[in-house]
Amino acid sequence: MITPTVVSLEPVLAAGAIALVIIGALAALLLGNAIKRLAGLLIAGFGAIAALAALGASDGALIIGVAVLFAQTAIGVALVVRLQEAYGAVDASDIDAADADSDVQDRAL
């Protein structure tokens, strides 16, 4: 007779959540487009919240995570809009090049 084995989903869920954090963090750090960076932050944040849930954290901790992620997204979207208005671009390479030009002009004064 085969006895059923008890399998816990917890390690699988936790591993998936950690993978989300890693993918999101890499996207937020390495991608040039500000909107993609913001998406990366959201993925990393949701991954961390999923890890909290998978590891049995309290409701309070989950609410803190969601609230902070919401605040980050709101500020991030506002920044992206202002970047587009100020630079006419949301790509890090364009923005850095514009700032470098300003630095050169400042030094020349």
Binding site: I18, R37, L41, G45, A71, I75, L79, R82, D96
Partner: protein, 486 residues
Amino acid sequence: MSAAYIDLARAHAPLLLIVMPLIGAALMLVSGPARLSWFVAGLVASAGAFVAVDFALGALTGAQPVAAVGVMLHVDGIGAFAAALLAVVAALTIWGAGATLKDSGGAAAPLALALMLCVTAGWTGALLAGDLGSIIAAVETAWLAGVGLVAVNASRDRAALNGALRMLSLGGVGFALMLLGAALFARAAGTSSMESLALARIEAPGLASAGAALMILGLAVKAGVAPLHAWGAAALGRSTSMVTFGVGALGMLGALAAMSRVAGYVMAAPEIGEGIQAALAGLGGVSVVVGSVQAVGARNLLRLTAYAGVSQAGCVLLSLALGSPAGFAAALVQLVAFAAAALALYGGASAGRVQTVAMLDGYAQRAPLASTAITAGALSLMGAPLTIGFLGRWRLVEAGVGAGWWWAAGLIIIASLAGVFYGGRLIERMYFRRANSAYAGEGGVWRVALGPVLVAAIATIAWGLAPGGLLRAATSASLMLGGISP
């Protein structure tokens, strides 16, 4: 009757320390003109500093009982010491920012002051929070307020938006790491409450080590520790005094203090202590070297100060890595040294609206008091004898050699030699070169706003000459890592 209220306020001082700046921030939004907002913010921050110092003195000497103020707060030695330091620095920075209020734009100044108060409340909350989740919430409150403070500066210079975006990206990753770390650590320790953590039995040391390392890494991002400091130069390089004070001095100090507190708890567990020590020592060593090299090459004074802060943060991490009460006491002394030097340098530079090193030429003739402040800050960053910077590094060398960490002593010497180079360059330009531009700072009565900067400059020397009280307070705080009993 009033004595009863004072006793009640003293018993609930930790809560007041968090609530007062938040009430002050709310007042900023209705207080109208920039000058009035500044005055109100200064009063609120001064009251907070008074309460914090009184609370820390009472708590560290055991004279004042600490009330149990609910499940959210937990007072320990590092928290009490650093909260008082943070409150004093907040008061000095807000009063010091008075002369250059209009740099932020008249309408934006109250908002910038409100965000500075939110930064103070957030980091104070992180120092007094009762569980890991609350620490993360408080850290993010402070960090996002810092991002906002940098972004407000965009009305003057659009580069501030780039700095704010970098802060948001790196800080957001730091948040995810901290949250993940807290989840792993709490699972391994069976609790996330600071009160229970000190005595917790770690059931899965590998999980706990990973969690603690992630939390410390997340905080290291916020503290601007190399190589995680990419936001610093972008956020501070072309900023106003509000931003340099609020993010460069207050923010970095708060993050380093919060990291010291978290390290104190996680290193108390013998199962994971050695791994965390190695991680802190590695980060600290890299930060000392990278910060020193970047400061030597910097042409922008604000960036130079930020990089010097990265090097100083490395010294704090090396002190923490020792894991002993002597190491934690050395870290607290270094926090005081960092705060005083940052205030003196940023304040001295912002008084004359100096941004590049070249603008310092002949500065001593144009602004002798501001130059004195910069000199004191530079000497402290070098670790010159008779300054608080020397005292902090000496305590680290003493504790490091005692533990057989000769390499740490070598790194401190490298940091000091680099400090002689970049600090000496500032002094040479101020005193031995001809002025190439007129004084751009405020004149008349607003020169009074230089007062807090001079207080910081005097403190760097005074505590170097008579460090007894400071050393006793740091030692007491380091012996109360697990908490102060009610």
